[in-house]
């Protein structure tokens, strides 16, 4: 099944077919990460604009690496170097970038919905690399890929997300993706970060909010940690000591989950706050696989949105592997 994407703004509007397609398309690019020579010529001559209006290290480098491994050139805009501080509007900044004729715009912005707003005014594809507290689609995809690699499926799992769910774009993208494959969610953290409204954000997906970590971990197949994002809050409602007392994932708490449960974290990790080093570095942790898969997922996204391929789903050079992997999907 082939799908076309004009932009990638959010995972919420995509159905299971489209999401499965994106994951399948990532598979051959995962293989490339293992190859000694990782550079393709697929997007040679194409330019990817990376506009990060909010600081980012991992995601920016990951998208940049993905673009360069596809043979594309990049133009980089970082918030601190931008003209936004000189009073230029977001739209004017983006129009200026666009005037340099990139083939795609990857953007991160502190305002939820900013990529949607920009996409309404641009002809080139827009990829959301994280918008405010809304979504982080490529993170959702790379997490799903990681889970599928480790557990063999992304269907009907018990997924527990711990931390500041209200302000997490990672949590929302994961809920919208995995929920479409029948996963059930348990959200857990301090009550101000886990409002009951979260149970209704994805109709059709079973989501429950609990406030005791022991209850949240019981029966979990996947545990997603979120960083405590103090910089997003006007006033941190909890002291670090209280947070550790109630919600830190340590080895003894991890034993409450299923024996084969895996632990994900979008990074950066605050060791000793939300997670103990023992767990972060333990055999159940997938943290570094997530980072590797991030490059593969982003290669697939950039390829699908900018290659302009109309006849083939995947790059000719990748076709064989892609077919092999098709059956591995759920």
């Amino acid at each position: 099944m082939t799908h076309r994407f004009r932009d990638l703004l959010a995972l919420e509007p995509l159905d299971a077919d489209e999401l499965g397609f994106l994951l399948d398309q990532s598979k051959p690019f995962q293989e490339i990460q293992k190859h000694p020579l990782k550079k393709l010529a697929t997007l040679r001559g194409k330019t990817v604009a990376l506009a990060f209006f909010e600081t980012s290290t991992r995601t920016r480098i990951s998208f940049g690496t993905a673009a360069s491994r596809l043979g594309a050139d990049t133009m980089n805009l970082q918030a601190e170097a931008s003209s936004l501080k000189k009073g230029e509007t977001l739209l004017d900044t983006v129009f200026n970038l666009n005037a340099m004729k990139p083939d795609c715009l990857v953007m991160r912005h502190a305002a939820s919905g900013a990529p949607h707003y920009v996409a309404r005014h641009l002809d080139i594809p827009v990829v959301n690399a994280g918008d405010g507290t809304h979504e982080h689609p490529s993170q959702g995809l790379l997490d799903a890929l990681t889970i599928r690699d480790r557990l063999g499926t992304i269907k009907n799992l018990n997924v527990t997300i711990l931390g500041d769910i209200l302000h997490s774009r990672v949590a929302r993208s994961n809920i919208h993706l995995l929920g479409k494959f029948g996963c059930r969610f348990t959200l857990c953290g301090p009550a101000m970060w886990v409002p009951r409204e979260l149970e209704k954000i994805a109709p059709g997906t079973a989501i429950r909010c609990v406030y005791r970590i022991e209850e949240a971990l019981e029966g979990a197949d996947v545990i997603m940690m979120l960083r405590v994002q103090t910089e997003r809050l006007d006033d941190p409602p909890l002291s670090a000591a209280d947070y550790i007392l109630l919600y830190q994932l340590n080895a003894s708490r991890l034993r409450l989950a299923n024996r084969d449960a895996i632990v994900l974290h979008p990074g950066p990790i605050n060791r000793g706050i939300e997670i103990t080093p023992e767990v972060a570095d333990g055999p159940q942790s997938c943290v570094l696989e997530q980072v590797t898969n991030g490059v593969a997922v982003r290669m697939a996204i950039l390829y699908l949105l900018t290659s302009g391929a109309t006849e083939t789903d995947t790059h000719p050079a990748l076709e064989v592997k892609s077919k092999e992997s098709a059956n591995a999907s759920d």
Partner: protein, 424 residues
Amino acid sequence: MLLIKNGRVVDPASKRDAALDVLLDGEKIKEVGAAGKVSAPQDAQVFDAKGLIVAPGFIDIHVHLREPGQESSETIETGTRAAARGGFTAVCCMPNTKPVNDNASVTRFILDRAKVAGSVRVWPIGAASLGSKGEAIAEIAGMKEAGIVGVSDDGKPIATAKLARQVMDYCRSLDLPVIEHAEDVSLAASAVMREGVTSTRLGLRGMPAAAESVCVARDVQLAELSGARLHIAHLSAKASLEQVRWAKSRGLRVTCEVTPHHFTLIDEDVQYDSRFKMNPPLAAREDREALLAGLADGTVDAIATDHAPHEPAIKDVEFDRAPFGILGFETALALALEQLVQSGRISLIRMVELFTTGPARVLGIERKITAGQPADLTIFSTERAWTYNVKESPSRSRNSPFDGRNFKGGPMATIVAGRIVCKG
């Protein structure tokens, strides 16, 4: 002289709904009589209102005209032209201009500009506190002498309970209504929409309904303490409406208004489009249901637009950064017809009341189609099909979520002081 003939006069004050002719002589209504029975001089201008409703002149008690100070978004001239197109014959402009209307000279400036450039009557509302800063009480008596019809720190609430009490005490002695933008600013801090499932889904910061209702609760109790006339502006929450209902049941002089956008749209309509961003924000489904019930049962006294123009340069930006507020004049009547009358929720005469005698009562004035009254009339159709195209608006701004919406019924003629100022 101007003879309005063959129309259906709907006049809430006299409870009349009948085929009547109305003769206007200069600034006053000269005669109201059975259709065909009112004789006018040969040279009188005649307006054939066949098939149309003839109502007392509509009053919008909550508008922002942006002059002085923000003329790139609106002026008294452009704003009142838009008001006339919406069927309004009088508008009460909020004091959050630059400078703030907190003294008689600003009030006089607004009235002088309105005299020169205004299409409809402009009745200024003065600030409750100096600069609307919530510290010292404004020069309310001086502004009253200059022509204000009420006080408000609109855009924000009167900052403290103590100041609100002082303003209410003072305004009681001056017989002015205190118009409150009810909001607990600590609960609403940095929020851009109503808190709920939609804000949680969209990742936009929400303010709870309680941000409004806790302030309404404070104010109705202070209204009881002071005996003042308290009017709650742009009421949006069910819990606030219950406070007003409670106040009315105790015989307090408390009134409230509801905007067309709050009785039409809900938070679920928000989609990262700043034309859906206003304060108070679009509320929950159950709040809208409560507002519709309040409009029907009489708890709500008036429909007011909160016409809040913002030029595209500042409004057409990321949702988080956009200022609050939307245009309101030209779609208000059509939305009321659609949501309230055509849906069968209220009668036509009740809707007219919400635009005329209702707001007039808040201001302590009369509004009636009878000889000797001011010759202000709003003539409208309940049938005419039309589409709102915001590009054609006389307003300097374009921030309407109703652009492109199809309507059945709307304003046909706006008559101010015996003169047709706008014809549909």
